[in-house]
Amino acid sequence: MLEIINRTKEKFRLTDLKKQRSDLVFFAVPRKEAVKIITYLRDLENFTHLVLITAVDYPELNRFQLTYLLHNYNNAVSIGIKIMIPRNKAEMDSIHHLWAQAATYQRELREMFGINFPGSPGIEENFALEGWDDIPPMRRDFDTKAYSEKTFFPREGRISYDPREYMKVKLYPEDKEE
């Protein structure tokens, strides 16, 4: 694992290096170099498995953090690549040419976070939310409870009684009338 990181370090600018476990390392890379690094890891370091692509919303930093998790079957090690992208111009280079299944992750990210991946196949299509017309629901400034109350038909909750008062009325109705 250390050798892989050292070799990668020589070629690219890695920041924020964090060893999560003996077989899992996270580092941050600039947005422009991300696809280059992922291609390098896949083709030369045998990280052939794209585990996931996910995003975290940081409205206070005005950033999205994209995480690409890659796995190497030869050494059974994983690498997480973190990329910060601006929130107002949420766009990232597509990696569907490296792994075809990345297109599905990218469709999901576009729908749930509003991050665009130009050139990714089917990126404009609906994924799970058909005809969504609000802000993307996984952004943290989206109020899911308010949206649910506005859109669906909430059923009123049940009435709760104070057990002592309730049983008093029920068991001794005469007392109440007095």
């Binding site: 899911t144 649910s148 038909f153």
Partner: protein, 205 residues
């Protein structure tokens, strides 16, 4: 049935519009005699369910089919198509995307049709009550005959629910399809409120 010159099936493209019937559902009044009683007896004893697992509750239907619970002894059998089935089981939560398919499947079922809603999600949203994509109550979109509470209800509870449904049908109260036809505008307005891309016919036969 007249549709008062209202434009229908506007969600479809012009080419597709010709493929679908424009007639809306009509209320079929039950006969008030022994024939209806006989028909109700027959309906109550051949509850064929639509094999459409809409949520996690569908997992509770599998044990019903096995020898341990054996729903076949009550005349309950799964069917692969809505056109052959009379009972629609909503298995738990329904997302907006699923609801679109639920509405289409429900409308394709032949009258009389009955709906059993499993689990708390169908009643008030359950643990997804504040979700952006899960409906809170199914009876705003299609008429429901029986609710079975629980998260999830056990197969015994589902069999008890089927028993209750049988009683309803025998008593002539399984009138969900007529209720749907009667309040068609209301149901459609509710469905349209949440199904934003209405690219389906207004009513499916």
């Amino acid at each position: 049935m007249e549709n008062n010159n209202k434009p229908v099936n506007l969600g479809l493209s012009a080419a597709d519009r010709e493929l679908f019937c424009e007639a809306l559902p009509v209320v079929r009044k039950p006969l008030q005699n022994f024939i209806e009683k006989f028909l109700n007896w027959a309906r109550a004893n051949s509850l064929w369910i639509l094999g459409f697992g809409t949520g996690c509750g569908a997992i509770e239907l599998r044990p019903l089919m096995t020898s341990r619970y054996d729903m076949y002894r009550y005349g309950i059998a799964p069917r692969p198509t809505p056109r052959q089935s009379s009972v629609f089981i909503i298995g738990g939560y329904a997302s907006v995307k699923t609801l679109k398919r639920i509405v289409r499947s429900y409308e394709q079922m032949q009258n009389p049709k009955f709906v059993i809603a499993l689990g708390s999600c169908t009643i008030n949203g359950g643990m997804y009550w504040d979700s952006y994509n899960t409906i809170n109550r199914i009876d705003a979109y299609i008429p429901v005959d029986i609710y079975i509470a629980g998260c999830m209800p056990r197969p015994e509870a589902i069999i008890a629910g089927f028993g209750k449904l049988k009683e309803l049908i025998l008593a002539g109260k399984g009138e969900g399809a007529n209720k749907y036809a009667d309040n068609f505008e209301w149901y459609k307005a509710n469905q349209r409120k949440i199904i934003k891309d209405w690219n389906m016919p207004d009513y499916n036969w």
